[in-house]
Each structure stands twice: as structure tokens, then as C-alpha cells.
Symmetry: C2
Subunit: 390 residues, 2 copies
């Protein structure tokens, strides 16, 4: 995050932040209901909302008639004006940049991609700036009312400082990315770990709304997990948290790149799945898409590979649920994960049910493929969160 | 917890609770330092502290000279008066009740035990009341200034309602224990799960002080875990959390009583250790104490049994650290766990180091045997927490 921080004028107090984010994430909602849910007085809610209305962030919808006991004046719900401000989001992968522009509610309005050919910091920064310029050129309104950009990257990110501390696939260490991109784009920039960014998107704008505790599991080359406990994203005291991919559910099973043994990721990541599918078919040139197609076509040996992977994922999810007790778990993935969902699903859910302890089995599993641009939307959600959190 | 709640007179606001608990858990500490750590104004700290001083809960220590830059008036630290009030704590096990009386800082002043011969609710309640009467009779001051009692029991406990929802070893379901014991003793009663109670004791009065995030792992018949994340005990959305004993680190290993396979508890709980030690020695009458003695005497087959158990425990602790990133992990246990520490320690620490992901390996492990009465002290700590939390 770039200091000095940009702050919307109406954001003058913690109460103002509370009221605005409630309308943003749960609106339209009446002042009375906001007061009830936040514990603020009606006067405090009205006082907090007024400057947001004046600045065009909120509007009052037409009064709806109320009925039933205790019905007083008709309530005029407060609602977000989603096009009051726009937000950029860019996910940095090992191959390309994926960018979006969203509105205030993190709805994707436009998206674009740009291949990454050079991992040198200055080159990536220039590519990000060029992609953002393309995105903002899509509408004059974006250029006028987009001031914040979120960046999502896998690895160890210090969001408060704006630094990428370590990115394995870019081979970056201690890169002050927020500062560099802010200088190149003129925008306020927030950098966040990609799984945490996706978790924020779910917490504010997705399946996590209203859940004090939930988990997000991402399937793909790596297997990641974002955790929200007591309404806060779990960051880890030593910078490590959510490493569900390194729960050793396979006993003395395969060695993992992390140095451990039997890790979920060593069985159910894209690479080990492909390796096992090649071994099962005897075809050393098989691709992951080919493996998915073979399994869908009924190749039992390849189907068994996916079932083993799903079993490992389900066990790890149960271990996580037994430990932290999320209200629900959202399982999502990138392109390969997406296409292989049908292959995983039964193995995941049955392994989870078998290993969940007691009432942890009541945890709801939401398996949902997502287009890859959702990672960029996560980055934009982080920019929104940064702007409206005191 | 029994309604209507008992509240100390000076506890009039959240700020008062914050100031008092800071002195209780981190004192002696000056008003200036309290203001710095809490973000309250000096005036607010002084206003909050005064009624506690008047009521005899806090006292002002003699001013200490300050030196160095910025030294102003000498600071008079605030300190707890530990004997202002006393607290009872009772741990209910399958064999006996263990009770303590503590002071305000959860220091154990006296302890007693009472065998449990009958698990009928009314019989256990009568036994608790008799044990508490014995404990309070140890000093006239206890009778005068002990008004709160904590109860700790393994199983599913609804602390807010004061109910034991399910206790497997007592075969209780939905027992309103707080209400029944309050009626029998005349004390305000809080009931908590035993591992959570021990976690509260660490958080307020032990190794958890000042750590926003830590874990407590308990070894014994069961293998439990208390988690504190972002300064709050993790309760689990479905009432399940901290079930580290049911992380499946042993692949398709032994079936567990929970219905899962390869659970830590199925390898490293007291019963499977004893079973494996009997198989290793060919002695079907071997006791757990005998197994511990044999391992200490150098019986390699029995030593290997303990090493396997320690390895499983270390893997599960690493899985937990990879997921939630505690700042430190306290490992403790009951009598058998206590005596076998030397046998576990190396296997636990090496398995943990091998499986911890990246900086999660920096998590500090504190292996510390504890006398069994610490479980009762945990119950008293919960009674203290109930009294001073708004």
C-alpha cells in the first residue's frame, strides 16, 4: 500500500467504515437494520451515512412499505452506487498478467491479458503499467474514476509494506512492488498474496458474506487455502498460514518439494497428477488436458488417478475442518482444476465425510469452478478493501 | 454461566475491562504504558482504574524513578491485589474430581481430589459441591471472598448456556451443569471444555501472554489442541475445533474410534501406545507405566513405539502450524504423557521440523510436563475470565 494513503472524504471514523462496508457487502439495507446489526445508534448510522450519500457512494432507495407489528415509518434502504468509483486488479502468474476493471461491488466490467516474457522487476512493472493503461482506456469513466489498483501474486507478500518478500516462480526477493507500480501508473497500489486476495473477494463479495468463519481451498499447480476465523483473515505469526497443500495425509507417501513427505500437494497438484496419469497410460507425452479427457472418456486407470487425488484433498480439508471449524468451505481452481471437477468431486466429498470429526461433517462444501480472471478480481477486491478500511 | 451474571462493581465499561485485564495479565504496569498498549487516553485509563483501586482489586505501587529521554513524572505502576478474591476450579475426569482454589492471578493456593463412583448427574453434582465445601473450608478467607467456580470437562460444552452438550465418558447429553452446581454451591458457575479451559489459562496467565496467536497441544488418552488466533480462542462454527488428534497423518494406518483412518490419536494416544508396547514385548499385562519404564531402561522395541507416536504427533503439529501459523506451540500432558516426555521429545521436534512449511519451522515448541491439577487451574482461570469480561 502506498503511503500517504488515499482516503475517501466521507471515511472519517471507524463507525463510518462499518456502516459503509455493511451497505457495500450486505446492502441494500435500511438504517434501522444497520443499527441493529452493528450495535450503533440510529443517529450514529445516519451521521455516518450522510457524507457517503453526499459524495455519491451511497444512495437512498425508494421507501418500501413495512408491515407487521412494530412497523413505523417506511424504511428507505441504503444502497451502493457501484459506478461511483472503479478499481483495477492484476494477477501476476508465471506466464502472463491477467487484469480486470471492476466496480465498487467487485463486478468485473472488462478484462485483458498480457504475456510475461521477462521476469526482471522493471520489465514486469512496465508490463503491468501497459496492461492497466489498456484496461482504463476501455471507457473514459475508468480513466476519471479509477484511482486504486490491487496486485495479486503467489508467494510471501507483506501487504502493509507493499513488498513481495519472496516469489518462487518470479525468483523475486524483497521487491517493493506497490511503490514501483504506483510510480508507473499514478494509482494507489495494494499487493497481496493471491490466495488471500481471493479469500478477501469471497469475504466481502462472495460466499463468505455473513460467515464469521470460512475457508477457501484452491486447486491447481499448488493447493492453497485461505482461512477466515472470527471475521479475520488468518495471516500466520511467521507469515505462513493456509498451507493445506502440506498436510501429510499420505503417510510415508511421495516426497514433496517442501522437504516433507506425503503432502497433499505431492499427490493432488497438477504435476503429480500428470505424472501418475502418464504412468497409468504409458504415454509420456500425455498432457493434463489429455488426462482429463481420458478420464471423462472412462479410462479407469486415469480415473483412479483423479480419485486418489480427490481423496487426498478431501482428507486434508477434513483435517482443516477438524482444527479450525469453518462454517463452510469453498473449493475452487484454475483451468485444469476447473475441467477436472467432475473427476474429483465424489472422492473429495466422501473422503471429507469419512474423516470429519463429529459435527465438523456439517461444514458445507461448495465446489465451484471459476474462470481464471477471478484471481484478478480478487486483486481488485483487495484494493476496495484497502480503500474502505481504517 | 449462571444468569443473572455476577459483575464486580467497578466493571462498568469495555474500557474498564480492558484496563483491568491488562493489569491482571501483564501487570504491574504504569497508566502511561496501559494507555500506549490499549490506545485509550490517559484520562480514560485513570477513570477506569480508580473504581478498581477503591474496591481493592488494584493497588498503586510505589513510584519508580524513570530515566532517559522523555522521562516525566515518576510512574506509579498499577498492580493486582491477588487475594482480593478467590476462585474455585474443578476438573471432572472419568475417575475423580480434582479441585483447586486460586487467587486472582490463577495461582493455586490449595487443591483436593475426590473419587467419582457414580456418573449420575445428581451424584456428580453432589460430589462437586462436597469437594468445593472441603476446599473453601481450608481458609476463612476463601469462604468470604470466593464467589465463582469454573468446571472443566472433556467433550462438547456450551459455555454461554452453561450446558454439557455431550460428554462421552460420563455418558451425559444436554446436562445444564452450571445451573445445577450453582444451585448446590451458591457460587456463580462457568462450564468449559477442558482443553479450552487450559488454553484460557495459558492465554491469561501462562505462555500465551502477549501472543496474538498460539496453540496448546495436550497428550494423553486423547490428543487435543486449543488454538488462539488473533487473540481469540477458536471455537469452531459447528462446535468442533482443535481436533488435532484426528488429522490423518498415517495414511491408511489404523482405524480410529472417530470413524476415520490413520488419525494421530489412533497411533499416539495412551491406549494405542500401550497396545503396541504389549505387542512389542509380548507381555499382555504390561501397563503404560511399565512401558514407560521399559523404554527408559533401553528396551529398543518399546522405545520405537514411543518414537513412532512422537513422529505422528510432530507431523500433526506441523500440519496445524502450516495451516494456522501459531507464534508458539505449548505441548503438555497428563501423568502418563508427563513421564513419557523424554521418550517423545526428539521424535516430535524432528518430525515437526521436517514437515513445517518454510518459516512455519520458526514456531517455538515449548514441551512442558504439567501436574494434573493444572486442568483444575484451567477451570479456575475460566471463572476469572468470565468475571472480568464484558
Amino acid at each position: 500500500m502506498l503511503a500517504p494513503e488515499r482516503r475517501p472524504e466521507p471515511l472519517t471514523s471507524p463507525a463510518a467504515a462499518t456502516v459503509f462496508t455493511m451497505v457495500l457487502t450486505q446492502g441494500p439495507v435500511s438504517r434501522v437494520e444497520i443499527a441493529r446489526r452493528t450495535g450503533l445508534s440510529s443517529a450514529a448510522v445516519t451521521k455516518a451515512a450522510r457524507p457517503f450519500i453526499e459524495a455519491g457512494y451511497l444512495e437512498e432507495l425508494e421507501a418500501t412499505e413495512r408491515s407487521g407489528p412494530g412497523a413505523g415509518r417506511p424504511a428507505s434502504p441504503l444502497a451502493i452506487r457501484p459506478d461511483r468509483e472503479f478499481f483495477g486488479g492484476v494477477k501476476i502468474t508465471g506466464d502472463e498478467l491477467i487484469g480486470v476493471v471492476t466496480d465498487l461491488r467487485a463486478q468485473v466490467l472488462t478484462s485483458a491479458r498480457r504475456p510475461l516474457t521477462d521476469f526482471a522487476v522493471e520489465s514486469v512493472v512496465a508490463d503491468i503499467a501497459a496492461l492497466v493503461a489498456d484496461l482504463l482506456a476501455a471507457s473514459p469513466a475508468y480513466g476519471q474514476r479509477c484511482h486504486s489498483l490491487g496486485l495479486a501474486v503467489s508467494g510471501d507478500v507483506d501487504r502493509a509494506a507493499g513488498d513481495v518478500r519472496y516469489s518462487p516462480f518470479l525468483s523475486w526477493r524483497q521487491v517493493p512492488l506497490a511503490r514501483l507500480v504506483a510510480r508507473a501508473t499514478g494509482l494507489s497500489v495494494t499487493v497481496e498474496n493471491d490466495v488471500k486476495a481471493l479469500t478477501v473477494a469471497e469475504q466481502w463479495f462472495g460466499e463468505g458474506i455473513g460467515a464469521p468463519s470460512f475457508a477457501l481451498v484452491t486447486l491447481g499447480v499448488g493447493i492453497g487455502c485461505g482461512l477466515v476465523v472470527n471475521n479475520e483473515v488468518v495471516a500466520g505469526s511467521h507469515g505462513v498460514a493456509g498451507e493445506i497443500g502440506h498436510i501429510p495425509v499420505n503417510g510415508e507417501g511421495p516426497a514433496c518439494h517442501c522437504g516433507g513427505r506425503g503432502c497433499v500437494e505431492a499427490v493432488a497438484g497438477t504435476a503429480p497428477i500428470l505424472r501418475a496419469a502418464r504412468a497409468a497410460t504409458g504415454d509420456p507425452a500425455l498432457t493434463i488436458d489429455g488426462a482429463i479427457a481420458a478420464a471423462h472418456a472412462g479410462d479407469e486407470a486415469v480415473m483412479a488417478v483423479f480419485a486418489r487425488a480427490g481423496h487426498a484433498i478431501g482428507l486434508a480439508m477434513a483435517a482443516m475442518a477438524n482444527l479450525v471449524g469453518p462454517e463452510r468451505i469453498i473449493v475452487t481452481g484454475d483451468v485444469a482444476g476447473l475441467a477436472s471437477y467432475g473427476l474429483f468431486e465424489e472422492a473429495i466429498t466422501s473422503a471429507f465425510a469419512g474423516q470429519a470429526f463429529g459435527a465438523a461433517a456439517d461444514c458445507r462444501l461448495i465446489l465451484r469452478p471459476r474462470p481464471f480472471e477471478q484471481w484478478a478480481r480478487g486483486a481488485a477486491a483487495v484494493a476496495i478493501q484497502t480503500l474502505f478500511t481504517l
